[in-house]
Symmetry: C2
Subunit: 130 residues, 2 copies
DNA sequence: TCAGACCTTCACACCCGTGTCAGGGTCAAG
DNA sequence: CTTGACCCTGACACGGGTGTGAAGGTCTGA
């Protein structure tokens, strides 16, 4: 498919699709006329890239770990210890982020609950803002 | 304390401490001579700011939610529905990030395990890393 | 054949978090 | 009084992710 279609399917601007290519996150074929030709599997891949980007992982890291993220055929032939170190580092960073986010999500939930209790307790009627 | 001390205690550059102030993340007193005077409680606050920033939350959002993140005395008097909406939105976003990060952390772990199995299976002898 | 939709590259520009440097003030110890 | 450590403001710069616009090529349908 052409860039417009992929853009539409993934909700990612064409600009960004070219950028991801430039950053080595995806590999794209070319038609005779110079147009980019995107394979179908790139739909999922781009979506995953968006997820990771939205979660605060920079492209550089994504490029490193993306090839290792396919739940399906993970036949690991090349056990590069250098890569292993990178993966472990990134996994640990994710772990840390998860902990922090969980902690703060809970704090937010508590606060929201407290707000709700305050309104229902204080005013036995309509939940309104002052 | 002065900015240098806080910087040292939090491992955050003075530049950044001024920046956080500028972004409304912290409120700082001034001495007669114009020097910033930081309260003790700011040590924790700055650390929390770092955590959130490192987890990919932008300053604008941090400014919104930071006042609601104190586990201790959360006496909610002002139940502003506008604020509530913001908090809920942010909590949901955190939830989503947590899900994505968890998913990818697990994928990484699986891959790392696969690497390790590949090496130990292939080469019965030297155990590697961890 | 021409319009319009879609593609190409290149470049400028923005925001955000951060470093760094210049020019200048405060203050305590020698 | 001078030095040195520390502070101030202001500015430039940079990388990352993103938008936008210019100038031009491709293709399809009226």
């Amino acid at each position: 498919m052409k860039i417009g279609e992929l853009s539409h399917k993934t909700d990612v601007s064409a600009r960004m699709l070219r950028y991801y290519e430039e950053q080595g996150l995806i590999t794209v074929e070319r038609r005779e006329n110079g147009f980019r030709e995107y394979d179908d599997y790139l739909v999922d891949r781009v979506r995953k890239i968006r997820e990771l980007l939205d979660s605060g992982i920079p492209t550089r890291i994504i490029a490193d770990i993306l090839p290792c993220l396919n739940r399906e055929q993970l036949l690991v032939t090349d056990a590069d210890p250098q890569l292993r170190a990178v993966l472990i580092e990134q996994r640990d960073k994710m772990e840390q982020r998860i902990a922090i986010l969980t902690h703060n999500r809970d704090a937010l939930s508590r606060y929201i609950d407290a707000m709700d209790e305050a309104t229902t307790a204080d005013r036995p009627g309509a939940p309104n803002g002052r």
